[in-house]
Symmetry: C2
Subunit: 188 residues, 2 copies
């Protein structure tokens, strides 16, 4: 039972990459065994719920990463400019400057959405709320802050889609840079 906790984290990261690369439906058990190095026996031992549980745990782990590195800092920060820069840097890092796709957004578009609707909605909801709370502290009204946070999330998602579609990661970096300015702009 070699260090289960650690192993599971590794497995989840590999699973995440497979789902990102092939989508939920496209990630066959064959691909999954190749990517994780685990046979079906181990896989179903670790995830008795099968593919659905794997995807659910991957989404949960992504959610956890963002909670720790993005959401929580936003909620507690007192310097808006610094907090926003940190969020943008974290996002840039997580998405490998546009080379990596957002699994949550991908799931949202696909037919697997219904199975993971709560996780998908919760992820974006908490992000928006955390960012809006920071923006409100920086002087915006509640509705301005919410609207601007919504714009930020949508911009990030759109930049990922367009970067991927055009095969040009620079689009993503440009969008992040513009977004920073837009988030820091004084209330309209």
């Amino acid at each position: 039972m070699l260090k289960r906790g650690l192993e599971r984290g590794e497995v989840l990261r590999a699973l995440g990459e497979v789902f990102r690369a092939h989508g939920y439906e496209g990630a066959s058990l064959t691909l999954i065994t190749e990517a994780t190095g685990l046979g079906k026996g181990s896989l179903y031992h670790l995830f008795p719920g099968g593919k659905e549980q794997m995807a659910a745990e991957v989404l949960a782990e992504i959610d956890g990463w963002f909670e720790r590195h993005i959401f929580a800092p936003l909620r507690t920060a007192d310097d808006p400019a610094r907090a926003i820069a940190a969020m943008i840097a974290g996002v840039d890092q997580y998405f490998h400057s546009g080379d990596r796709v957002c699994l949550v957004g991908m799931v949202a578009l696909g037919s697997a959405r219904d199975s993971f609707a709560e996780a998908v909605d919760g992820y974006f909801a908490r992000w928006q709320t955390a960012l809006a709370s920071l923006l409100r502290r920086s002087g915006l009204t509640t509705s301005q802050a919410q609207r601007r946070a919504e714009d930020a999330l949508l911009t990030i998602q759109g930049a990922l889609v367009l970067s991927r579609a055009r095969g040009d990661a620079k689009i993503f970096r440009r969008a992040l840079s513009d977004l920073t300015a837009r988030l820091l702009a004084p209330p309209a």
Copy 2:
């Protein structure tokens, strides 16, 4: 051979909805026969190239629709405000105010991207060029126009993703409305 040309259009529309609803990988031949009312015999008679040809023709038809209703008007319009309003209205109509997902963006994110890379890239490239040409005529520099057009496409895609993820089509409509203002704003 009952009105082949017309029939094919109908079939392509049905195919588009199936791909939109289930993605390229998820759209099984069973689902396709159900959605189109056509047996495998007819399907493979109409599309000897199988699923890949179906998807390619669907993408081409989408491209054609946008070419006719969005791109061409942008290129020839002389009133920027009116042209942008028309584009936004067309986009709102096409995506059913956020209820419908963008198949091109979906393909771009999935693993089928490589098979349709050219079609996907061309779609966005032509859109961006057409919009940028209008914006340049409205007084922006070439690079300002290109950047602002890029922002428009990315906003639309992101709004579709986020609307879907949160199950709230109002996000899409808000984004379109904001986008209109942003596109018409004077050069920075």
